[in-house]
Each structure stands twice: as structure tokens, then as C-alpha cells.
Amino acid sequence: MSVFSRFTLLRSMTLFQRITLSVRVLLVLLLSLPVLAGLVGVMLPAFGYFPALDAHDFTFTVFAQLLAIDGMGKMVLLSFITGLSATVISVASAFLLLAVFYRSAYLNKLQTWLSPLLVLPHAAAAIALLFVLSPSGFFSSIAANFSNILSSIGTDEAASVGGASTLLPPMWAFPYDSYGISIIIALALKELPFVFLMAITVMSQPHVKRKFDGYFKSATALGYSPVTVFFKVIFPTVYPQARLPILAVLAYATANVEIPLLLGPNNPPTLAVAVVQWFNHVDLSMRFQASAAALLQVAVTLVALCVWVVGEHVAKYAQGRFYSNGFRHTGQVFSSLLAYAIVAVYAVIVLSIIVSTVLWSFATFWQFPAFLPAGLTLLHWKTTLWALAEPFNNTLLLATLVSGFSVIVAIMALEAETVSGHGDHNSKPTSYFNGWSGALLSLTLFLPLLVPGVAFLYGLVWFQLAYFNEAVWFHLFISHLVYVLPYVFISLAVAYRKFDPRYAQVAYGMGKTPWQVFVNIKLPLLLAPILVAFALGLAISFSQYLPTLLSTGGRIATVTTEAVAAASGSSARLTAVYVIVQTLMPLLGFVLAWWLPTVCFNPMGRYSLLQTRKSKL
């Protein structure tokens, strides 16, 4: 489009359309400015420039000092290996599950059971795993009881203390094991549903689904077994579309703080945990080291992403022959067995997590080998709910503000997409990520997800402290927005893409303005996806730990920060209550998102009613 036609287009726009266009620009700015400003704020001290500490020269000595620290290599390696292997495990398992269950009735069940796990905050998952994995946890109890039974039969001599029949918890490596296996388990557990559901979303788009059904029928007719069809035909098509979210998962896995903090070793910890500790150090000169380490973290994440991309190419190259070798039943039995094993392991872990967390929250005394606590009490719930009143209000208010604002910005920005076709209503924008502006937008959307939080959040906080020290809520708002907005936008974009343009065309034909069309037609019709996006925004905001902690300096407590604090506190029982509250909050959001559209306004329901009447006539 030339400058002039663009100009005439601008002139012919209504105020509402201009606003939507400017909001689109605002969206890009809102996402990129905090991240870029934060990166700059971290980069300056990393190269020795920090005016507040009388450092004005640019040097590389900070990096030299950083690399000279004992155990630096171990930290980097720990971050890299835990992140990469957790991602490999979760992606491989997710696609294996899809391959085996794609055409079976279990797919819907899996979807239903995995969806709630998606909203489980990372911190909550890690804390809950702590209950299960620890030497006094559920699995250990089973092992102890098993060996107890064996010893009572007389086949095995259990280690009993002082001849008593009571057992001490065994000493095993989990949690806090020095190889980070606990971290890998927690990350894989948490990312598997995400990758799985992301791939399903890609596959269930109507045109993709139609295409796949066709592929499937022809391949089956050629004698290929379902699993082989998936790996040879469907996977190569699905994977590229799910690639960016997978890279985001990898970036998160290498750089997250909560899980290694709660489950990881501390001699040394992962790099991200060390960065946080150094930034929070009383000695302000540690900031240099922390900033340099934050940049190193960016490098580690980048290398992991590169390794992944190289791995993709290698796999592609290696698979060339696999696609065309003509074998009809490659790995059919093996894949099925493995998939069932994964489902079984996953179900066991998740069930035991849920059961033991709920039990802990009501438990009175609970000594180690016992499966059940000695009694139940409401004491812990009472104590926690009293203490949680204020953090709960903070969390709810913040999440509502952030998510509401994100939904408005996302709708406006998406509405701007339709503006380009105002002159000729027939041209429906086919993809929202076409052209350079689309590429810019999609890059910005994934920027906060790809750049490690520990890297840019500290720089952002530095700017915030330097300029508006008092506006704590504003900082909190911005740092949450950076994480909430991309998810809200992506979730809404799908619905906007599916929206039938003929409704709008009819309304324009009746002389309605874009604003009227937007308010009277699009908003009501899109109410359900908007509410879902809002609930997703709530869930993301609820689960933020690092952004909350950093931007407020601990001045504003949310349920998540309290829960992580409680996890290292003295009471396992109170922690269990925190985890449950933390999990219920986003779930409640999603339940509301499901329920509200059916109550408030249900045009689709009415539409389908009309359809059935028509068909009867």
C-alpha cells in the first residue's frame, strides 16, 4: 500500500478506527518498552556503569569477576541441562500422547483432565511436588510400608531405629538433589499439558482439521497404522505451528526462578536463582555481578534456543528417510506402551499430589510411614484465611485491573486488523501475522516470554525506582501486563479469526458505523471468548511471582508471593492451604468464564436454536 493510499485510508477513518489503530501501536509499545528498557537497565551495570554507586566507566571486569566465581560453570550447566531436558521430555511426551490418542475417544478425556493443570501456578506445582517427593512424602511412605510388610513376613530386614517398629524417613536424594532431577520432574509435569493443549489447538482449527481428516483417511487406506500416520504426516505439519510456544517453554524452563528455588540444590543453585540472590543482596555492589549474571542467563537461554533449533534441523535431516521408507507400522506397539506408561505415571503423580496436599491442609499429627493423618482439623484453614485476606484482595484487584486492561487493548488492536479492509469489505484478513507489522507484532508478543524475566525485570525495577519510586501499584501493573497481555491477545486472536465477517458486512450495508458494529454485533457475539481471555489473564496474573516481588520490593503481598514465602516457612500444613487457594483462584476464573456467557447473553445458543427450527421446517 503506497503512502498516499494509506493516507486516504487514514482520512476516511472514523475516530473509533483511528483509536483502534493507535491502540495497536500502543500494544507494541506496552510490550516492547518495558522489556527493552529493562534489558538496558541490566546491561549498563553489567558493563560497569552504575551512577548510583559512582561507577561511570564501561569495562569488562564485571564479567571477568563473574566467570571467576567458584561453581559458575556448574550453575550455567544446571540451568541449561534442567531446562533443555525438561522441555525435551514434555514435548516428546505431549506428541507421543497425541500420536497414540489422536483418533481415540481418550483424547477428549485427556484434554479435560490436563486443562486444569494448565492453570496451576508453577510455584504451586513445585510446592505440591515437595510434599510428594520429600523423604517423608507419599512415595516414600509407600516404599516404607512395603518394606515394613516384607520385614514382618521376614523376607527383608527393614532399618528400624532402636529395635522399635517405627521408621524414620529414609535419606534419599529428592528434593534438593544436586543434579536438578527434581527441577526436571516439576518442569516436565507443568509444561506437558501446555504443549499438549497448544498442539491440540493447532490441530482443531477447522481448515487444519479437515485437511488432517483427509490425510488420515488416505494414509489409512494405504495401510498405515494411526500412530505411524501421525508421525509421518500430521506431526510435520503441526510442529511448525506450535514451534514458537515450545521455544517460549524452553526459554522459561532455562530461566525460571520459583521451581529451582523450591526444589533445586543450593550448592550451587541454578543461575537464575543466583541472579535473584545477588540482586537482593544487602551489599549494593553485588548489583554489578547480578547484572552480568543476568546477561549470562540471557546467553544461556539463547544457546538453549539455538541448540533446540539445530536439533530440529538434525531431526529433520535424519527423518528424511523415515518419511519415505514405506513402513506402515513403525513403533506402533512401542509408542502405545510408552504413551500408556506416561499417562499412568502422570496420573499417579498428579493424584498423589492432589491427595497429599488436601490431606496436609486438614491434617493434625501425621507421622511418617502412615498413609493418613491421625486426625483432621480446620485449624490451618482458619489461620490461613485470616492471614490471606489482604493478599487475596491485592491479588484479585490487580488481576482484574491488568486482565481487564489487557482485554480492552487486545480487542482494540484486533479490531484494527479489520480496519485495513474498510474500503472493500470482502477482503477478510487471512492472517494476523502477515507483513512486516504482523511480524513485528508476533515478535513483540513473544518478547516477554522469550527474554528471561530475571534479566529484564531488575533493569525495569531500576528504572521504576529511579523515576517514579512511589507509584508501586503502577509498577506492579506494568510488570504484570507484560506477561498477561500476550496470552490475552493470542487467546482472543483465535476467536477474532473465526468471527464470521458477514455479520459485520450486513450491518455496514445497513449504514452502521464501525463503532456501532463493534458494540452491537461483535462484542455480544464474542462475549464468550472475551470472558475466556479475561479469565486466562486473571490466571496468568494470579501466578506471577518474580514480577510481583521485584516491582513492589515486597511492599504488596499477593497470594503467590505469600505461598512461596510460606513454602520455606515452618508449617507444611499452612503451605498446603496456600497451594490450594492459589490453585482454586484461577480455576474459579475459568469456571466463571464458562458459566457467565450462558447466563448473561447466549446468541450462539439462540442461533443454534434457530438452526434446529429451520431444519425442522
Binding site: 498516499f4 524414620l168 543450593n266 543453585p269 540472590q277
Partner: protein, 486 residues
Amino acid sequence: MTKSNLSLVALGSLFCLMPLCMFDALRISLRGAAGVRVAVEAAVQVIARLVAHIAGQVTGLLKAILSVITTVMFTITLAYALEPAQAQAQINADAQTSTQLKDQPQNQSPASNQILGDAPTVQFHAWGGSAQVNGYIQWVSQQVSKQYNITLNHVKLADTSDAVSRVLAEKAAGNHTQGSVNLIWINGENFAAMKRHNLLLKDWANSIPNFALTNPSRNPAMITDFGIATDGQEAPWGKASMVFYYNHRFVEKPPLNIHELLAFAKQYPGRFTYPIPNDYLGISFLKYAAIALNEDQQGLLYQPVTDTALAKITLALFEYLDALHPLMYKQGDYMLRQASQLQRLMGTSELLLAFSFTAAEIPSAVNRFDLPSSIRTYAMEDGSLANVHFIGITYNTENVEAAKQVVNFLLSPQAQAKKQQLAVWGDDSVLDFSMLAANDKAMFKPVSHHVSAINKEEAVPLFAEPHSSWTDAIRQAWFDRYGERF
């Protein structure tokens, strides 16, 4: 919602009008390039249009700025409205102080006031952030009013250093006889500052009759405040001391000194640990070990640290820790970040021995089911690291005798026993039980003894806190040797 829409409108005008104006000017000037006349005409037109545009834009911009300001103000108002807790707390604190001041005449016992005429007033400046402490001081003021006809007024401080700077200001202003601060509740840093500036009355503590009950010759902690000799400028009031607790179900006989602790670790490998020295309890354990392992040169720890002294002290300490670490939880590889995790691991029996600075928390944790009922609390026989808090009398106090009388009452078995009750305050007595008469001792018997609570009737020797310079020195030496843990 409306506000954010407003700001959207504002931003919209900013983004949209700017390019419009530029394009407009560009197009017209291009068209007018045909002839000079046309060009001039066009230029005029352009300028006119530009002016009009700029005028429109300026108004738009003004509107935008206005709405941005409105939005910012709205946000800030919102932010402040959403931070009611702090403000509320501030107001409450103010309200409390003012009520307290208003209530002042009522605090005096009216009867004794009328009968005996002038009752001396003592201003007691003490941190007022705890309802339990405030309630206890209220009780004290009733008692001294009844028993000695002294009016004790509790001035509730948010920060003790406020009172210190007030005395300093009075001294600078030459008010040497009628100070507004009489008694002050201090220790550590604040005491060091007051002693340095000669703000405290000297050599009075030894003349208090009940001070002898603290047995200062056996308990150096009573006359040393974080390594600084009190020189009779302050009298001890209460203390917190390090207690150990163990799981009686698995452990018959707990270790009673630092050497038995190592033997215990050998007997039960992996069942004891201490937090990293960044944690208060972690560094306290190291201090305890440093004192207990260097019996012959303990004096070094109560002077400012030097390199040779540090080398001497850490020699035995590190030799001990080298032996202990492989026997600890996770072979000493993973060390707890927070002391609170000790209690959690005790609760699951993963640890069998741990320690704490607040003995009162252990029975209450048992009551909340966080610790098993087989937990028993005790104090080490070789000594417990103690953290004592004191009462000082300022140098410009008018009624010194009345102030001393109050301190004597605070140190009486009656007042100390009351303070120690869990329901009242739960703060440990500074009195040495071996010095007490049988009927005085009986007052310290808890109403109902919790099996998991420490038996406070047994006299245990106390280790005073080393000189404050040792804290950083020991911590740094530990990190240098065992690596930084996070």
C-alpha cells in the same frame, strides 16, 4: 473503564493527527510545484493548513495532555486508595499515641494521688508495637502506682532510636536535669550510641537490690550488651536464649554440649543441620559453636575482631564443622536457607534435633500439629547463646530514685514471673533460679506445663553475644571456606 477510554482517546489523537498533518503538507506542496504562482498559492495554502492543523493539534495535544494528567492522577489516587493498610496503620499508631497521652491522667491511681499528694512521674520510653508488651507495661504501671505511689507513663515508640536522638537533642540544648525520657528499653546498637554520647546514668545498676538475683558473676550476659560492657549503665530486663529441641520418640538422650552434638550426628547421620549464616539462626549457631569450642580464649570474642583473633577462634570452629558437615542433612551439601525450615523438617521427623531462639514457639507449634507431640525442649549445658535486652536510665532524669524503684520492681521475681507467662508476654526471666527462694521460684511454675516446653526452672549458664564486629567476620570466613550458598 471510562478513564482508560479517555486515555485511549488521548493517545489516539497523538498517534493519528501527527502523520496526517505531515502527509497533507507533503501532498499539497508536490501538487503546487507546477508554477511559481501556483507554488506560492500552494505555500500559503500549506501554511494556512499547517497553522490550522497545528492549532487543531495543539488543542488536541492539550486535551491529550489533560487527559493523560487526569489518568495519571486517577492512577495515583487509585494507588493511594489501594494502599490503605499502611496509611491506616500510621493513623492507628498516631491515634494510639494520642489516646495514650490523653489517658495519661487516668493511668495514675487517683486515690493515691489525692491522699499522698505529689506522686513522682517516670516516663518509660519503650517500643510499643506489641499488644502483649503494652499490656504488661500497663500492669507494671498499676503495680508501681499501688506499691510505691509512682506514676509510670509508657511512651510508645515506633523506633527506639527516636528516644535516643531526643535525649541527644536535650543534651545539646543544655537540658541536663529535667529530661523527658527517664527509663528507656534498649540493647545493642542503641545502647552503644547512648554510652558513646554519655547519655545514660552511670553505675546505678549494681545498687538495685534485685539486680543481684541475676547472678552477674556467673552470667556475663547480664553485664555485656553485644560485646560492650554495660558498666552499670543499664539493668537487664529480659532475654531470649538459644534452646535445642529433639524428637523424644527416636532420641533417648539428646546431646548436652557441643562435643556431644558431634557424637549425636555420628549416631544419627543426616538428622541434624543448621541454616546458612545469612540467616539469623544460622550465624547464631556458629557463634554458639565458636564460644563453646574456645573455652580458653572466650575473651577474644568480646573485643573487636582482629585477623589474629579470627584465625585463633576459627581454627577450632572449622575443624569442628569439617567433621560435622558430612554428618548433616544431605551430607551438608544442601543447607537450609531459612531457620523456619528447621521446624518443618523436625515436623516430618527428617531431622531429629534442631534449635530455636524463641522457646515459646515450640509448644505452640505442637499445639498447631506442626511438630509431633514427642518433641522435647532443653538448653545446652555448656551454655546458651543469649540475647539480653536492658533498661537504661538517662543522665538527665529528675526522679532518679523513682526510676530505680521502677527498675527494681521490674527485676522482682513477681514482675519477672508475670512477664514469663506465655499468656502475658512469654519473655524469659533474667533472674538466676539458683539465687531465688523456694516460694519465689514457685511463682515461675507455669500454670499448666506443656511437655514440649522448656523447663525454665533449671538454671543454665548463658553466653553473651560476641562483640558485634564478629558477626560479619565469622560469616565471611564461613563463606570463604565452605562456598557461598544461596
